[in-house]
Symmetry: C2
């Protein structure tokens, strides 16, 4: 997502109780931050924040963490919380390729990848969030039966991702080429991007993949 | 494929040296029929026969068997052989759901499914050639590292098949949503149906799946 640079975004973030200024401090101890042992679900790249905010409302027994690289993007998402302290929601500004700095081995239960950058050029394949090096990072921080839930409107990224999941021995499930016309539509929480693109007739692809320990 | 009923098709078939009139006789002994121990590749549903005839020409070190239910369809395909005896090619008229009557356990190395009937109605899902009961039959007759190669122009059948392969623990590879634009196009042998449909701009989906013994 492209946003204007927002001067002072990083300072502004610290005003929000759901923003975690010192995320490395919680590695291996996120349960302390949340004050309970509930499962932790992570969204990588939070867009405008509707998805993670909605899930946090719907599932008070799950702890949600949004990990997003750009301060301006985190700020847009965290603004939805209106300075409220939401006990099961946290926003982190960090590089997703370094998830192992944020989370101990097997500390989290699920990862959401929503409309990640497709990086269409072959020479940028390693930057795609389903490239095998990312999958191995996810496997490290996810519990043994942990899951990845991926949505995209980009067919090439979807095709690439299915092949990566298969090659890295992730167990796939609920593969759909048209989420909004599928039986999974009822429980689907749309991101802002998803709503805009699907309203133009763009189909949404989705897959769940669980890490089968090699 | 729909064809007019051809009177006397079954009798006509017996005139062709590549047609095997008594296929059950060879169960477990197809190497006797071919006179060698070369790997056996099977096409289920042979269409007009170009695919299997072309593969047999290109790969003299592989034995090919086309299994097709309808006598009229087998006849059209076998007519391409022009009454020649082709040492590594055999045509069989038989029901693919009964492959275990034709082949001993682990007797064959590869199965091709080309443009199988999509059976679009949900209540007919069990008839699709990638339904789990078929996959378990294939697993039984295929060698341990045996492969299924599937092509289709039907997106719903492809989506269904990917889910079946995943659920039945087949290891997928080379998943492509547009075969003719992919790196696999160079080695692709087009069926008659494929040529006709792709010339109209219809995309071809393809996947390889190998049976990982449970």
């Amino acid at each position: 997502m492209r946003l204007r640079n927002i001067p002072g975004a990083e300072a502004a973030l610290r005003e929000y109780p759901t923003f975690v200024d010192n995320p490395l401090f919680y590695k291996g101890n996120w349960k302390e931050r949340f004050g309970n042992n509930n499962p932790i679900h992570v969204e990588i790249g939070c867009g405008k924040g509707r998805f993670i905010n909605t899930l946090a409302e719907r599932h008070p027994d799950i702890n949600f963490i949004a990990v997003e690289l750009k301060a301006e993007v985190v700020l847009r998402a965290v603004q939805r919380t209106e300075y409220k302290a939401i006990p099961n929601l946290a926003f982190v500004q960090y590089d997703a390729s370094k998830l192992t700095e944020l989370f101990a081995d097997h500390e989290i239960s699920r990862i959401y990848l929503n409309f990640s950058d497709p990086w269409p050029k072959t020479r940028h394949a390693k930057r795609r969030l389903t490239y095998k090096s990312f999958l191995n990072t996810y496997r490290q921080v996810l519990v043994a039966d942990g899951e990845l839930h991926m949505k995209t409107d980009n067919e090439n990224l979807f095709e690439f991702s299915l092949n990566q999941f298969a090659a890295e021995r992730f167990q796939m499930r609920n593969i759909t080429f048209d989420l909004h016309q599928s039986k999974l539509a009822a429980d689907n929480v749309m991101t802002e991007y998803e709503e805009r693109f699907s309203s133009r007739g763009q189909r949404i692809y989705r897959v769940e993949a669980s890490c089968v320990i090699k």
